[in-house]
Amino acid sequence: MSERPTRLLYFAWLRERMGTAEEEVVLPESVRTVADLLDFLANRNEMAEAALADRAIIRVALDKKVASADASIGNASEIALFPPMTGG
């Protein structure tokens, strides 16, 4: 994986608790899966740690497709984090 920036998006209460709607980050080589990404983000600061505390209710979409915790991030350029969806 190259050192290219990844666009992160946050929605709903995750956006509020992360304190931002989007950011660009350069992910280290060690971040390979969705679970790795959540660990990486939670370890950055206390705000993120609190926001991401309950991993079971965090949903992640890689390039607009929902992905499971063990999914490989691969070459995703846009990764969105959000709570369970409440459409309709």
């Binding site: 998006l9 929605f11 709903a12 209460w13 956006r15 979409a61 607009k64 929902v66 969105a80 959000f82 709570p83 369970p84 969806m85 409440t86 459409g87 309709g88």
Partner: protein, 139 residues
Amino acid sequence: MLRISVQVEDFDAAQETAALTEGRHDVGAVASFIGLVRGEGERLEALELEHYPGMAEEQLTAIAKEAQDQWPLDAVCVIHRFGKIEVGGQIVLVIATSRHREAAFDAARHIMDYLKTDAPFWKKEHPKDGQDGTWVEGI
């Protein structure tokens, strides 16, 4: 035919229905569903709907296409609004048309069921008392 729209503006169900049936003599059934903002016992003033632009349209399209694969439908229309919608206002419209009622009913229900959990929308309640709103919990 498939019409998908994610929009701020309100919709007119009669107009959308007419667009699917006008000039068509093989359509025997139109099933439609409209979701409205509930007041929750006069507690709420409005709902704020947030969405993930791009993914919302993609997911609605995927859900509608799945229904088209599963039932013999003539047309499907899904319109989902976002932004602040007052109590009583319209949130979502689903229309399915077919030769017969079973497919239209079943497809409309299927689309609504999946849209609840698979379409990237989130709802925040705006209470009447001016307190900070709370997010509606999903599953």
